[in-house]
């Protein structure tokens, strides 16, 4: 509810602080699971999101079903149906605030911490994620690596593939954000 409200808020009131709102123009997320027996890798470029650089708040969203590049189509099917249940929980969402006081609209490279609620598989977890923000000529680039522990999001791993799947998934995000135009 709060996430929707925040999204609507950011989308509908841009005129108040137009210059400060940045929208993802190109964003990709990839993950890999370094399990002892099998490496699983998949990625998606359907990342959507906004940053309000003035208020230093953000909201990102990704459709789970948009992940591609598994080892096999069957693995992708398992990913969507068995683990992520993407028909029930279609999106992963991360909404929150930027801890650091830096003005990321100015050119430069900033190490910031994004703190907020990461909602995956319908389970919200309070997370602090370190990111590198690079601003150049009004364009903001974000890079971030973080870990998603499956257990914390109630993603159940059947015993039979317990060995095959890592319990912590490494996630890499990179996105380019442009000032939102009207």
């Amino acid at each position: 509810m709060r996430i929707c409200f925040l999204l609507v808020f950011i989308l509908l009131v841009p005129s108040l602080s137009r210059a400060q709102i940045y929208e993802v123009s190109a964003g990709s997320i990839s993950f890999n699971s370094n399990a002892p027996k099998e490496l699983i890798h998949a990625s998606s470029d359907k990342l959507k999101g906004y940053i309000d650089a003035g208020k230093r708040i953000f909201a990102f969203k990704l459709e789970i079903a948009s992940f591609n590049g598994f080892n096999s189509p069957l693995q992708r099917e398992h990913f969507n149906e068995n683990y992520m249940e993407s028909s029930v929980f279609p999106n992963a969402v991360y909404v929150g605030k930027i801890i650091e006081d830096a003005d990321i609209t100015k050119d430069g490279v900033y190490k910031v911490r994004a703190k907020g609620k990461l909602k995956i598989h319908g389970v919200e977890q309070e997370r602090i994620i370190n990111s590198v923000v690079e601003t150049k000529g009004g364009k903001i680039e974000i890079r971030s690596d973080f870990i998603v522990p499956l257990a914390e999001h109630s993603i159940k791993i059947p015993r039979i593939v317990y060995e095959k799947l890592a319990h912590d998934i490494n996630v890499t995000v990179s996105a380019t954000l442009m000032p939102k135009s009207r």
């Binding site: 605030k97 801890i99 911490r113 703190k115 309070e126 602090i128 370190n130 522990p149 257990a151 914390e152």
Partner: protein
Amino acid sequence: MRASLLTFFLLLTTIVSAQIPFMQEASLNELNTPVKVNAMVTDSTGYHWLATDAGLYRFNGRSFTLMHDSIGKPATAVAVMKDEVYVGYNDGTIGKADKNNTVVRVRLRNTAPSSSITFMYSFGNILWICTEGEGILAVINHIGVRFTSSSGLSDNFIYTLALLPGNKLLAGTDKGINELSVDKGKLRVRNYTMTQGLPDNIVRVIQPIPGSPLYWCGMQQAGLALFDSRTSKIIQPQMTEPWKWGQVNCVLPIDEQRSWVATEEGYLLECRLDNNNHLSIASFEVPGKRIKALVISRSGVIRAATNTGVTVISAEYMRYVAVPPPYRIGDIAAMTCDRHNTLWFALGRKLYSMAIDSGLHTPRVAGELPANITCLYADNVNRVWIGTFGNGMWYHDINGGLIAVAGIPPLENESVLDITGTSDRLWVAGLNGVQEVFYPGTYTKKMDLLSQHNKNSGIGSDYIYQLYTDRKDRVWMATDGAGVCMYNQGQYTKWDSASGMTSKVVYSVTEDAFGNIWAAALADGLYRFDGEKWHSMRGIGVQDANISTIASNASGQVVVVNAKGFDVWYPQSDLFRNYPHKIFGIDSTSSVLKLSARDTNGNVYIPFEDGFVVFKNVDQRYNIRPAVTISSASVFFKPVDAGTSRFGHDQNHISFRFEGINFANPERLHYRYKLEGYNDSWVVTSDESVTFPQLPDGKYIFTVQASLNNMFHRASEATYSFAVAKPFWKQAWFIILTAFFISGIAVTYVRLREKNLRKVSSLQRERMMFEYEHLKSQVNPHFLFNSLNTLTSLIEEDKQSAVDYTTHLSDLYRNMLSFRNKDLISLQEEWEILDNYLFIQKSRFGEALRVRFDVPQHVKENSKVVPLALQLLVENAIKHNIVSLSRPLDIIIESIENTLVVRNTYQPKLSKEKGAGLGLSNIKKRYALLSKKHTSFGIRNNEV
């Protein structure tokens, strides 16, 4: 321990510290399924309480008990307030654990959180609740008061709280530390951020250092800072390298200098802060674990709450120095430690040295001897004396190099068993007794043999397994054949069996920190000498009597190495702590005698397969004695409310459940109990419940003690006083009531009986009276005179009538005599009497007397009357009424509905006859005694 032992971490990859704690993971459930533990606290009894994703657990050292709840959410925070345990959940729910192992929801009035609880803290009767984004709640008597950014907080996401002196609070937020105080009823907030010197604005942990005005502040990425409560300043401690261990999740201060810190990235850090605020950090990695909380039990066992369960950390009492392969430390034959804390040890013919204070533990070869090394001794100038098997004595010079001792004939090619030193002498035990020699000192390079001690000189044996110098510079000898022998200034002291030392073969001797001498005897276990007597320590907790080594550290612990593992004596607790093989993955102990070393701080080193176990000096406050609680009382196996102290007489089947809390050796827990008032003797058990069926009424005190290894001296105990009520039939009120009832019945019975007797006797008296009156009337001279007159006249007139008359008269008298004793006669018989009487009277009165008898024949035969009743009535009628031809007297006798009626015309004589009324009342009484039928007399319509 129900939770199985899962992992033994050898942290060789990330060793920075010299001495590594043992760690062992315990699972919270039988299935070993990981459970994420979010918070952990210890209550005053000693229980650990764990807030986990599966709910609230209670841990007693052996088993985890899950508290039932209907909340069904992950528990994220836990706090103890006045012996009550409060738990916070990730949906903002607050619960409280009750006595029935259940968490009940606490309904907060005024305001209640709806987001996850990050931290809870209590002091006094206020419960402080930190939330994710809803500020701080202070709860007093279930009423919530909320402080948020609109009240002045810098942020609504609160990680932690700590109490400051002067009723102030410190709150850790995403935007620095908030210092909260109340000034004139208004909340005042002072904020500390990076501007004030805080290294990071996200402050996750604030923890006071006991005995110090300083508070640890743990940051999200910048490590640790200090808050000084006297100056309200942030202090950044000096560190030799930048913080690299990640997000601080918890701080466990041990004392003013030392604290344990755990991080999200799985590091356990031992942090030492010196007086100049220099922070030195020893780090240990716990691979794959995110440590959320640390608690320490009173026995010194640290437990870390992790994302998969709980990890036990032995750091406060035992660590190890890892020596990686190819060295097989399990095979070492001799060891010692010098004044620079260099550990010397022998493997075969090679002598190794290894600095135990440095970071890296790589043994260095110090030399090789021509024969196997049997013993090592480092003297006070750091020379290491070496005994060999068949090659005499050598020493390792402080400038390096191995030098053979020459010039002392008894030591040449000797097999040396042990070496020790006093202030200026060396003592060398070989196969020919003990040689006392001068050190090579500054004055002489040469060693001189001073004297020889052997079987003949007074030791009583030539074989000495160990030589031990105590703090008074006395030399103790563990001999084969003469027990323990002590040599001091020319005197040998030995002990016979009367002193308590019964064994003649002693392998090892040591002096503890209190001056007691301990001795290990062949297959006979352990002795302790208090200066006067030897006390056998058998059967009080040493796992095996085959002891190879005993050693003591500076804080009073005595380490006993035996065939089954290690046992460590805790003098403050009067108990042995046992470390059986396999615990912490230590799978062997050496059977080589007297194999130990002691560093300059007094810590004891014992070899094992992978290195040296260090039995650290233990903080005095750590006590391994178990605590004990009575967890429930039941009647007929149904639990009763806690504190119920009165039971009914039919509730006399009483059970108690009790539970020992111990984190040192929970598997060795024993209990003993007694029920005062029932049986005053102790019953030892390892069960955790006892049932007393059919308790008689009375007052009882149930006492249970818990201890390790059946040693109940100074054991902690729990008691439960109660009374079983007397049954009602034993209670005073019932007895009194019953007595009244019984005496009431007796009195009534006696009274009834008396009444009956009286009735019978009065009946008899009435009858006697009647008979008397009647006889009197019969012999009434008037009646006789009349009768005789009538007879006289009849004789003259009518002889036959006179004869009849006389016959009737005699019949009358005979009948009256024969019936007078009877109570009842039939109406027929009465009629016969009356008939005789009437015949006599009719002879006298003739037609003046008219009697009509109108009673049916069956009534005559079946009915009964009082004897002479009718005769008396008729006689009365004749007696009191005028009978003459002019006024004839009519007498009618008839039966009307079961009643006999006698009537006569009422024409009373003017002169009253004597004795009037006596006959009538006599009849009346006799009828009253015999039946309930009514009798009445009266005058009606001129008739009687």
